[in-house]
């Protein structure tokens, strides 16, 4: 909501003048530049291999065909050597579900305990969380690979390292820290214990934090590539990203039409989700700035 409003005085200045054509034309140029790859992806997915990679003509919406989607839909149900599209979808969905749902539970509780409960070693734990926020996953991917190599080619192992997230804990921590403590005090006086207070009083008032964390972790896990790359070698446990990655990487004379169609299918759940919940997406990213 805050994001959609405008700095008032500038707007007032503007409205007295005419439409700011300069700003609008700049915006138009950048919008075309940013939108073009997306447009190319969608148009290309309806084109034959020879048309999809054919200079500027590829961008023209002529000779559109559903052939790519048709062959993908057949692949959706038929399991081949390279795995079935349905399988990739299932794995990606399952992994995302485990990470987002599990993450919301464990990270919100930990963030809450850090923000509100008094116990020994509180400062140390907080410091630990902050340091772990900084360490990127890639930097520990290699040792983690050796620790969990026994679980390779499972769905669970693709989700496991991402359920607990120092970053999510920190986001929840700062959110709960800014929530007025009087709400909980009132609940305690009304006779609610800590668990009931969390479930009935805190949770309903922490929807924005939950939405932010859910969205950010969904973006991250749906796009994750390195970890499933290390942990999967069998097509039946490939997530979508690996399946597409293999196409991008391996084909020397790529069938771009079909790859584009595949790519559209990868991004459609996310993009649809984004367009519907755009305000929440933007707010959740904006909430990161508070962190500074």
């Amino acid at each position: 909501m805050a994001v959609t409003s405008t700095v008032a005085p500038l707007r007032r200045r503007r409205s007295r003048r005419s439409v700011p054509w300069g700003a609008y034309s700049l915006l138009a140029v950048f919008t075309i530049l940013f939108l073009f790859p997306v447009y190319y992806l969608i148009i290309g997915s309806f084109e034959t291999p020879s048309e999809a990679l054919n200079g500027i003509q590829a961008a023209a919406p002529t000779h559109l065909t559903l052939a790519n989607y048709h062959s993908l839909s057949q692949e959706f149900f038929s399991s081949t050597i390279t795995g079935s599209l349905r399988g990739f979808y299932t794995v990606s969905t399952l992994v995302s579900l485990i990470v987002v749902a599990g993450g919301l539970v464990v990270n919100s509780l930990a963030g809450y305990a850090l923000a509100r409960m008094k116990f020994r070693g509180h400062r140390t734990l907080l410091l630990l969380v902050i340091v772990l926020v900084i360490i990127p996953f890639q930097a520990i991917a290699v040792p983690l690979y050796y620790m969990l190599s026994g679980m390779r080619n499972t769905v669970v192992v693709q989700a496991l390292p991402f359920i607990g997230s120092a970053f999510s804990i920190y986001l929840f921590y700062t959110f709960f820290l800014n929530l007025p403590p009087q709400l909980e005090e009132a609940a305690r006086i009304d006779g609610a214990g800590p668990w009931r207070t969390f479930l009935q009083i805190i949770l309903p008032n922490a929807k924005p934090a939950f939405a932010s964390v859910a969205i950010l972790s969904f973006i991250q896990i749906w796009s994750s590539y390195l970890w499933p790359l290390m942990m999967t070698s069998q097509p039946n446990v490939y997530p979508l990203s690996i399946a597409i990655g293999n196409l991008v990487k391996q084909q020397s004379t790529p069938n771009y039409g079909e790859m584009f169609a595949f790519g559209v299918l990868l991004v459609v759940p996310m993009a649809a989700f984004f367009l519907v919940f755009q305000r929440w997406f933007i707010r959740s990213v904006a909430s990161l700035a508070v962190k500074g």
């Binding site: 005085p9 915006l27 464990v106 360490i135 930097a139 040792p143 050796y146 590539y225 991008v248």
Partner: protein, 311 residues
């Protein structure tokens, strides 16, 4: 009264125990998971970097001290690759950070107004953020395809009225890294733009009003109100972008495998390929550890800069 006083200490102990038990129960799952899957691997990577292990053999694990770290800076063959990767990361960061930060701030100011068109633009700029890097790589692989059939080549040819000769963007030692930078900026700018947008909204309108009353023009408004108001946001964005750019991996692995001639190799790519592809675990771990410390150091600097602001 007597019974009351004997009961008292018991009650008190129960109470305290319950309080801390609830706190612990809430903490344990989340903290436990990040300790197991982040902290322990971090220390394990330090251990791995100090030992030699031949995977799949019976040769006992042997401590080698700082051998793998010395390799990084003194092994005649390996040194070159490592330093080239470090340099690539440096160039990537030095180009991406200012471009992406500047562009994000510029776009944020442009879209910080109302209207359907502006809203559409805002959506467009943010859309690539939800694109997985795999998909971004796929699209740009087609755009950057070699020969006249490649989209970028074709567009540049039209713009220059045929004077432009098609380039092999990802296969050219001089063009590969800039190409990777181009698609990374496309994918990442929207993210920073939204953070800047939030920063812009955080500047109180009264600051603009005061400056207007003092007779400031639009450029002075930007210089004296907007920029100072975005200072902390900018520091945050710069640091996050820097850290992201040090983690450069996916697009390199997918599009160039570090090539041509290590022109796009990154530290993270080198670490993974050493450990995973070349089965040289200790070396990969040593690179990871070095990267971790670089990132921790940068974060410390960020905290310091932010703290100075507060003081």
């Amino acid at each position: 009264m007597a019974t009351l006083t004997t009961q008292l200490p018991q009650r008190r102990r129960r109470r305290v125990w319950t309080e801390s038990r609830v706190g612990l129960t809430m903490l344990i799952p989340g903290i436990g998971l990040i300790v197991i899957f982040m902290l322990i691997p971090f220390f394990y990577s330090i251990w791995l970097s100090l030992h030699v292990e031949i995977v799949g053999s019976n040769i006992p694990i042997r401590s080698v001290g700082l051998l793998f770290y010395r390799h990084l800076f003194s092994d005649p063959i390996f040194r070159g690759v490592f330093l080239k990767s470090l340099e690539n990361n440096g160039i990537f960061a030095l180009v991406v950070v200012p471009i992406q930060t500047g562009l994000a701030m510029f776009l944020a100011i442009l879209v910080n107004r109302q209207g359907a068109f502006v809203k559409f633009c805002r959506t467009t700029f943010f859309l690539p953020v939800v694109f997985p890097m795999v998909l971004t790589s796929l699209i740009w692989k087609a755009i950057l395809a070699p020969g006249p059939a490649g989209m970028l080549n074709a567009v540049l040819r039209i713009i220059t009225f045929g004077h432009f000769s098609p380039q092999y963007w990802l296969g050219n030692v001089h063009l590969a890294l800039p190409s990777i930078i181009l698609l990374s900026v496309w994918q990442g700018t929207g993210f920073q733009m939204v953070i800047f947008l939030a920063g812009l909204q955080g500047i109180p309108p009264s600051h603009y009003e005061a400056a207007l009353i003092d007779g400031a023009n639009r450029w002075q408004l930007f210089r004296d109100v907007t920029l100072p108001g975005l200072r902390n946001t900018t520091i945050f964005v710069v640091m996050v972008t820097t850290i992201f750019s040090l983690q450069l991996f996916d697009q390199v692995y997918l599009l160039t495998q570090g090539g041509p001639l290590n022109a796009t190799s990154s530290v993270m790519y080198l670490a993974v390929s050493q450990a995973y592809v070349a089965n040289n675990v200790g070396q990969g771990a040593a690179i990871s550890v070095v990267l971790c410390f670089i990132i921790l150091l940068l974060s410390l600097i960020q905290r310091q800069v932010l703290r100075e602001r507060v003081d």
